[in-house]
Every structure is written in C-alpha cells, then in structure tokens.
C-alpha cells in the first residue's frame, strides 16, 4: 500500500511515455516555448547547443542552475539537463532542482575517465549515450533507464547516428540467434553483464527505450532513424542552428510521427529554409570526436 518513488519501473516508465516523440535542445525559455508549441515531448536545458560547444572549445560543464530553472518554469513538458560523465555532484545538483531526467553526456567534458555516475543512487532517472550494444548494457547496469545512440553531436551529419543504431540492432539480432549456452561468451565479447544479455534475447530489444541522437538535422533524418528502429529522436543543434527554428522544429516532430509516410515528410520539408551547415566526419580530429568519450 505504501507508495515507492524512484523505482526502476517509474524511471524507465517516463522514457516509455516519450516514445515516438522528439526531445529538443534549448538554451532559453523562449526556445523551450517554441519547442513545446512545435510538439516536442521534452526539452534538454543547456547553456550552449553542441555545435556551439564545439566552436567554443574549453571545458563544457553542467548549465547554470538559473538557466535550468527558467526553462523548467516556462514549459509543462518534461525538462532534462546534462551532467559531465562521472560528475555525480552535478547530478546531485540537478536532482535537487527536480529536473525530470539527467543526461550523463559525452557532449560535456568528462569528469571521470574510469567511472560513470552510480545512477542507482538517484531518484531522478538518467539517459546515457551508447555506440553499440555492449556500451548500452554497461550503462543500464549502472542504472540508466533510457539509452540514446550517440551519433556525433553538433555535426548535423547523420552518418554516425546511423552507424550506431545499426550496430545496436545488428548485435541484438546476433544475441537473439545465439543458443543460451553460448550467451556467456557473447556477454564477454560485449563486455556486458550476462543477465542483461539474456534479457535482450528474451525481449528481442534493449530492456529500456532507445532514442537516436547526434546528427539529426532534417525531417528526413528523423524519419530515417525512426525507420531504422529508434524509439524517438533527440535533436540538438539541428533546430536552433537552422535558418527557421520554428518551422524546423514542427517539421521534425511531424516527420517523426509519420515516419512511414513520405508524402507527409515531403510536405513538412517544403520551404523549410536552410538546415544547419554541418560537418564532414573526416574533418574531425580524434579530440573532436565526442562519441569516444565515456565508453
């Protein structure tokens, strides 16, 4: 009869509610309102979008609590915010502000090269990035209640998002076709806990919701990731670095919903103005690659 808060069911449950939706990076209350009016299911409160973090260089940290609070007051949809990988005090701060989800994110400069945040210790749920199945299951073992494939943030180039989602899907298919007796070996190869590998085989998918992130810049990009099997979309720089953020936001939401309907995708893409300029992967140095942080 006693109620329980912060259970894994309740944490993973909020992510389930966001399925089929778009989560947008915002840096001001005005942007948050634009996102909500466009139909976003949640916003990510940030000091700078990933493209600007790239441009600025230096150490990227949790946003100023004032920015997070202002955004929380301006919309009624859930508000997420980012902490540096392993920075559990930034996470304590965001939990005290009562944000709805914490993103332990490679977009910020990692604070710990060995350990991620012990996410079981928190009432607020966490989302973490992953490039493949092993990485996703390691994060879930640490308590993540939602996964997003990483892609390469702030590039407006969808190629890495595609690579990572395809990798997760291919590995899930491999787990499903592996006899039970050989699963311990697969778990060893994936560097992931055996019980979670077994769970993946049982479910035929990840045990938590998996969104696509890192490079979605157009409605067609969003629909591409949905057709490849993403449960929903994170758009970082893609909206507010485009020529017409309002239009782009609306178009990406609608293309995510009707991802199997090219006519609607065509309709919403028409006259959208320029998408963000974007970066070619080969121009990034090893130090520029955010996806290789916190694996």
């Amino acid at each position: 009869m006693e109620k329980q808060v912060g259970t894994f069911g309740v944490k993973a449950g909020l992510a389930e509610m966001l399925k089929g939706g778009v989560i947008m990076d915002v840096t001001t209350a005005d942007q948050a309102v634009i996102a909500e009016k466009a139909g976003a299911v949640a916003v990510m409160a940030l000091e700078r979008v990933p493209a600007d973090i790239r441009a600025a260089g230096g150490v990227a940290r949790m946003a100023d609590p004032r920015i997070v609070k202002t955004i929380m007051e301006s919309v009624s949809i859930p508000v997420m915010a980012k902490v540096r990988i392993g920075h559990f005090v930034e996470a304590q701060v965001l939990q005290s502000l009562e944000v709805d989800y914490i993103d332990e994110s490679e977009v910020l400069t990692p604070a710990d090269e060995q350990y991620h945040v012990d996410k079981w210790a928190f009432t607020v749920p966490f989302v973490c990035g992953a490039r493949d199945l092993g990485e996703a299951l390691r994060r879930i073992a640490e308590g993540a209640a939602m996964i997003r494939t990483k892609g390469e943030p702030g590039t407006g180039n969808v190629v890495e998002a595609v690579r990572h989602l395809r990798a997760v899907n291919a590995q899930i298919r491999q787990v499903m076709s592996t006899p039970d007796a050989e699963l311990p070996d697969v778990a060893k190869e994936l560097a992931a806990p055996l019980d979670l590998v077994r769970r993946v085989k049982e479910l035929g998918r990840l045990p938590v919701v998996n969104f696509s992130a890192g490079g979605v810049a157009t409605p067609a990009d969003a629909a591409l990731m949905m057709q490849l099997g993403a449960d929903g979309i994170f758009v970082g720089s893609g909206v507010f670095k485009s020529g017409d953020p309002e239009k782009t936001a609306r178009a990406i939401v609608r293309a995510t919903l009707y991802y199997n309907d090219p006519k609607i995708i065509a309709e919403v893409s028409e006259g959208m103005g320029p998408a963000m300029r974007g970066l070619e992967m080969s121009t990034l140095t090893a130090a520029d690659r955010m996806q290789d942080r916190g694996i």
Partner: protein
C-alpha cells in the same frame, strides 16, 4: 473486437500487447480514416500537449467526438488520455475531446522525482490490489454527478467511469496485470451488443 490505440506517441506498444492478451484485436490509429470498423479506443499515456496538438492538426478530434456521441463507442484514457477526455483542464488547456465530465489537473503530483508506484485497491476488479504506476500523473480535481469513482488514493479519485468512458491517472499497461484491460474490453463487448440489438 477491434479496439484502437491512438498511436501519435507514447505507450502504444504496451496497450496493444495488453489488449491482445485479453482477446481483443488492437489497431493503431493515426488518421481519421483508421477510425472506421473500431469498437472502442484507448488513449495512451504520453505527452498530452504533443498528442492534443497533433490530434487537432491531423483532424482526429472532431470525427472522434462525433463517433462517440452518435453511437456506442467506449473510450479509455490513461494519464495523458485522461486529460484528453476531460471537459475541463486546470491552467493551460490543450485542445481535447472533452467528452467526460471531469476537471483534470496536469502533473498534479509534481515532477518526475515524485512519480511513484503502489498497490491500489480497485473493488470492481476483485480483492487483489492492482500494481499502479503513476508517472507525472494528473489528478481529477472535480467530477460531475454522473461520474463514478472506481479507485481512490489519499483522498483523490485515480480511476473513474461515466457510461462508456473510463479513465485512470495511472498506467495499467506498465504492469503485467491485465484486469483493467479485460474490464474495458468487456465494456466494449457490451456496447457492441447493445448496438447490434
């Protein structure tokens, strides 16, 4: 029996699974054309602002309202679905069906850190309590005389019905218990029978 699940966004897969388990045929609904041949509808949990915006834009609200008002068409709203069914909403008021005589208060339990689960006694389902998951849940601030409370928690009505309409502030599709879906599908079966006779 074909029971639709509004598939704009949110917990669509889980409702479909539960419907199939209790012997109904689940159908995803995104367009007005997909409303034909349905015997009932579930409005799942999700973000009510997103769902209402897109229901209005893609022309689902009016045909649904007409359908429910012209002949028997049971609708069950969970969480966000409760808000979409309510005649009134406290504060920012999204476009919605407005078919059930209740006033919904969005996110009334607080933000995500206040989300909870508990064993909820629901007398119409029998003596065993129901594993109820509340996520950024709404409250029913007031309800009309024709609305019957089916479950309460700490003085708040968390599940109610009014004729063919059923609502819960929590998410029955997130627990393995299918009794509420069975209860709703029985409502749908009776409505179909009544129409046929």
């Amino acid at each position: 029996m074909r029971v639709g699940v509004l598939a704009i966004q949110g917990n669509v897969r889980e409702h479909k699974r539960h419907l199939a388990r209790v012997g109904a045929e689940p159908v995803e609904v995104r367009r007005p054309s997909e409303l034909s041949d349905l015997d009932g509808l579930i409005l799942p949990g999700g973000e009510s602002t997103t769902m209402s915006l897109l229901m209005e834009e893609y022309g689902l609200l009016q045909p649904l309202r007409e359908r429910a008002q012209s002949r028997p068409f049971p609708i069950y709203g969970t969480c966000a679905g409760l808000i979409l069914l309510a005649t009134e909403v406290v504060g920012l008021s999204p476009a919605r069906l407005g078919l059930m005589d209740i006033v919904a208060d969005r996110n009334a339990y607080g933000r995500q850190v206040a989300s909870f689960e508990m064993s909820l006694p629901i007398p119409v389902l029998g003596p065993d309590p129901f594993p109820a998951v509340f996520i950024r849940a709404p409250k029913i601030a007031r309800m009309g005389a024709g609305v019957v409370a089916l479950a309460t928690y700490q003085g708040d009505v968390v599940m109610a019905e009014q004729g063919q309409y059923l609502v819960s502030a929590f998410h029955p599709e997130m627990s393995p218990d299918t009794r509420i879906h069975a209860y709703f599908v029985e409502k749908v079966r009776k409505a179909r029978q009544a129409e046929g006779s």
